[in-house]
């Protein structure tokens, strides 16, 4: 195997947690609110079903091919050339998605704190930092997540606790005024984010305790769902009907905090949360691209590819969208169908092919 490191199932769970939440906390609440309005707290619950589903599919596929990632077993399942094509689809897909993630990071930092810094410098420095983490391998990523995530989660909960005096729970009534439809429509976009649990397919082969993999994957989905519900509650109680018009509701909420006249300007906390979790998120995607490319080309080592692929990632992040408005529009409309069809459709297809083949034998 290319990667010699091992991580525990618990580390995989904690690694996936920021991988979903980093951008989901910033962009998704307002996109959900545009459809679900007062029921936006329900949407992550519907959306989490796709997370459970994909973890289950990936686990079943991994049981059949324990030492391989999807790039390798797709050639075993449907033959060499179609399998390689699927591998290429995944590599280009993750290059594109990671380009979008890096761009979101850069746009957020430029618009909120480093206003005069050129975008490309921010993007390039982030890619470079992540490149060093990726060179270290999967163990380094696991440790990074273990160090950052407890702090990040605590800070985030602290933000919500500080907002409690300003929260008005009557904003959530009347509940389900128009039935379940708005909340289900609002759950489509979070579904795209939760389908990123597909990345566990690349991490499963490195687990030291694989039988616990499914359990920790599921726990990770539950944790992501709970934090999204909590965020949506806090934002709904704070802003009520205007949530859908804000670009970064969590950031606006943090600016809102004012305790006893001196505890103000807490947006730097959001920035700290965001940079730390975006670092983990970008590194995981980056690692998957590099590892996937090395597996696709049957190389013996993935480290030489880290820097050149980082350069292509930087280009993709600049190329992904001309500006933030178009990017948010894309994320709010067609992106979900793209994410779900690649990250859930293809594994489901592969699993059903193996089941049919198995019955023939």
């Amino acid at each position: 195997m290319i990667e010699k490191g091992k991580i525990s199932a618990y580390q995989m769970g904690i690694l996936m947690f920021p991988t979903i939440l980093a951008t989901a906390l910033l962009f998704v609440p307002s996109i959900t609110a545009q459809h679900a309005e007062r029921d936006l707290w329900l949407s992550p619950i519907w959306a989490s079903s796709i997370g459970f589903f994909i973890v289950y599919i990936v686990y079943q596929l991994n049981k059949l091919y324990p030492e391989m990632s999807i790039i390798e077993y797709s050639t075993h399942i449907i033959g060499r050339i179609p399998g390689k094509l699927i591998g290429l689809v995944y590599i280009v897909f993750y290059l594109h998605v990671n380009g979008i993630v890096i761009r979101e990071y850069g746009e957020f930092v430029v618009s909120s704190s480093l206003i005069t810094t050129p975008l490309v410098i921010l993007l390039g420095s982030m890619v470079l930092v992540c490149a060093f983490a990726v060179r270290g391998g999967v163990e380094v990523l696991g440790r990074c997540a273990q160090i950052f995530m407890p702090g990040v989660t605590l800070l985030f909960l602290l933000l919500i606790v500080l907002l409690i005096p300003d929260l008005h729970s009557n904003n959530m009534f009347p509940m389900m005024e128009h039935g379940l439809k708005p909340s289900i429509l609002g759950s489509i976009v979070p579904q795209g984010w939760l389908s990123e649990f597909m990345l566990t397919s690349f991490l499963f082969p490195f687990l030291s305790d694989r039988e616990k993999g499914m359990k920790w994957g599921m726990i990770s989905v539950v944790a992501v769902m709970l934090l999204m519900v909590l965020t949506n509650f806090a934002i709904l109680f704070l802003f009520g009907g205007i949530t859908g018009d804000l670009v970064y509701p969590v950031m606006t909420a943090a600016k809102y905090i004012s305790l006893a006249g001196f505890f103000e300007h807490l947006e730097s906390i959001v920035m700290a949360i965001w940079v730390a979790s975006a670092f983990v998120k970008i590194s995981v995607f980056y690692y998957v691209i590099v590892l996937g490319t090395a597996q696709w080309l049957n190389l013996s080592d993935y480290r030489p590819l880290v820097l050149p692929i980082g350069f292509i990632l930087l280009l993709f992040s600049l190329w992904a969208a001309p500006n933030l408005q178009e990017l948010t529009h894309f994320l709010g409309t067609s992106s979900t169908f793209y994410f779900v069809s690649v990250q859930v459709g293809i594994p489901l297809l592969l699993l059903s092919i193996t089941l049919v083949k198995g019955e023939k034998k």
Partner: protein, 75 residues
């Protein structure tokens, strides 16, 4: 200005190759060719983006494919 960008990109890629090349074993022919190929792809893409910054990207392609479904969520 464009020539400066091209020069800068080329310098970055050369520095990258100088950092990475000595670390690779002599036997690792496949890795070396993969490294060269990916670097060249990166350089070509960078050149395209320098000369045609408004070139439609992957996002527009995906948007065109999934437009009928995306319209469901249009507001």
């Amino acid at each position: 200005m464009k020539w400066a960008a091209i020069l800068g990109i080329t310098v970055i890629l050369v520095l990258m190759a100088m950092y990475e090349w000595p670390k690779m074993d002599k036997k690792m022919k496949k890795e070396k060719s993969a490294f060269v190929a990916i670097t060249i792809i990166g350089w070509l893409l960078a050149m395209l983006l320098v000369f045609f910054p408004d070139m439609p990207g992957p996002t527009q392609l995906v948007d065109a494919i999934y437009k009928p479904l995306g319209k469901l969520l249009e507001k």
